[in-house]
Amino acid sequence: MEPELIKKINTLADNKTNISVSKVNEQELTTLNLGPIHPATHGIFQNVLKMNGETIVECEQTVGYIHRAFEKIAEHRPFYQVTPLTDRLNYCSSPINNVGWHLAVEKLIKAEIPKRVDYMRIIVMELARVADHLVCNSIVAADMGALTGFTYVFQWREKIYDIYEEICGARLTTNIGRIGGFERDFNPTVHKKIKDFLRDFPKVYKEFMSLVERNRIFMDRSVGVGGISAERALNYGFTGPNLRATGVDYDVRVMDPYCSYQDFDFIVPVGTGGDVYDRFMVRHQEILESIKMIKQAHDNLPEGKHYAEVPEFYLPPKEDVYTKMEALIWHFKIVMGETDVPVGELYSAVEGGNGELGFYLVSDGGRAAYRLHFRRPCFIYYQAYPEIICGGMISDAVMTMSSLNVIAGELDA
């Protein structure tokens, strides 16, 4: 193509559209901006793709569009006010983030957590995992054109949110639980809703899976697409379902059991090829395992208190604040930030929806954390995206992205 022509096209392109043409290595490459505002990215982040026809030659990611400075804010807030920040990391499974943060603080203050709290936490965390994987898997199918399944199972995510709502009053950004336990015990409605969910959801989920699991089109589009080897995945810091899809059985719930996960009977599903289909099937199997765990936890819910004895951090019941001296003092101390916080430096991790969600907390004894760093699994494994998609088709890149479950909130902190 003539240089003048390219220049003209580029000028036109800059003004009119987001597609421009440049000449690299005697080859005509098209630059395509996939995102930041694009339905296929399911979030606000950009991929600048260099395309040769429909084949991707080069990809560069731009992230940070919804950076909200959580780490800076966390240095100015008392611990219990950090929980709402964690909601907004992976907002598809905020209860896991909330519990992960509470566990980090409980590790710092060396709190002893009652069994009942552990089991209650497992119920909400596994519900969150089901919701997270359900969204991811149905989106993978939707990106292939199977919108029916997506709209069908989304109703069931809403039912999970109904359970959250009954427990803590919120649906998406839950702020569930407190440091040391839960603000209140599960009420009878919660138990009923969990039971109903466990009874009805598996049937619905089976129907959804029968739409896609052995579907010719689905398999042709996903088997062998967007694969990564176990070695590369480990080098890229993959964790969670994306790592397990490559065949590495690393799961924080098994490696470093927290919240009494050691009491539960569950398997860690692994894949072989690390492709879109494997990731899909690992998430699918994890949903079934989570259902099993919720059932176990709900059936064997131990008696006891729904909070730990940490009066320095756990707000006393309101009626006590009005009638009892000690409760009033603790309430005042917690709200005014007069509680002593131990000095220490720790790393605490939970298995989030996307992998190892870590909290690196440095406390200098001040009211707020001296330094808090979130190890966000998405941010780390999203680096591998160019390597996975280069050489493939753009339609595969879209599916790869949704099957990696890149959540903009977690990406940008």
Partner: protein, 167 residues
């Protein structure tokens, strides 16, 4: 057959010699302070050693301690041995006047974004990084926001005292 703290400390001590400044164990994790100039060799050694097998870089971040002259910055690595499930924290102190440390991207592709993030927020320069530029903040930003001298609130406000709002 698990990896013990003694083994790790002995092996790291043998490898680094004077490079190992101090070590302590808190909350179930060993933390070692090492000389910043030897970070790359150490991580390469930890990764390739047949006993230590720390083949997974969990986390990489920075911390700012303005009250420690000559060691204002700390680059913190979290390494993980997935076979024996052993975690190790490595800390390298850097002076604010010359915050430069060798990049570990050649060893771990995972470090790419994490080093960019640390550069973005603290201004720590990772030499040898393939693409060291800001990642979460805008390119035009002319300061490093996670440094302690940048207050969260507008510094000119007089109606709020720091001591009532955190630190």
């Amino acid at each position: 057959m698990g990896l013990t703290t003694e083994t790790v400390l002995t092996k790291v001590g043998e490898f680094l010699g004077d490079g190992l400044i101090s070590s302590n164990e808190s909350f179930g994790m060993l933390a070692i302070n090492v000389v910043a100039s030897r970070n790359f060799e150490l991580i390469e050694f930890l990764k390739s050693d047949p006993i230590l097998k720390m083949t997974f870089l969990t986390d990489l971040t920075g911390t700012h301690y303005p009250d420690k002259p000559g060691a204002e910055f700390e680059v913190v690595y979290h390494m993980h041995n997935l076979v024996d499930n052993y975690r190790l924290r490595i800390k390298c102190a850097l002076p604010v006047t010359n915050p430069e440390i060798r990049s570990v991207v050649p060893l771990f592709s995972a470090a790419n974004f994490m080093e960019r993030e640390t550069y973005d927020f603290f201004g720590i320069i990772f030499t040898g990084h393939p693409n060291l530029k800001r990642i979460l903040n805008v390119d035009e930003m002319d300061y490093f926001p996670m440094r302690k001298e940048y207050p969260l609130e507008d510094g000119t406000r007089t109606d709020k005292e720091d001591k009532y709002f955190g630190r």
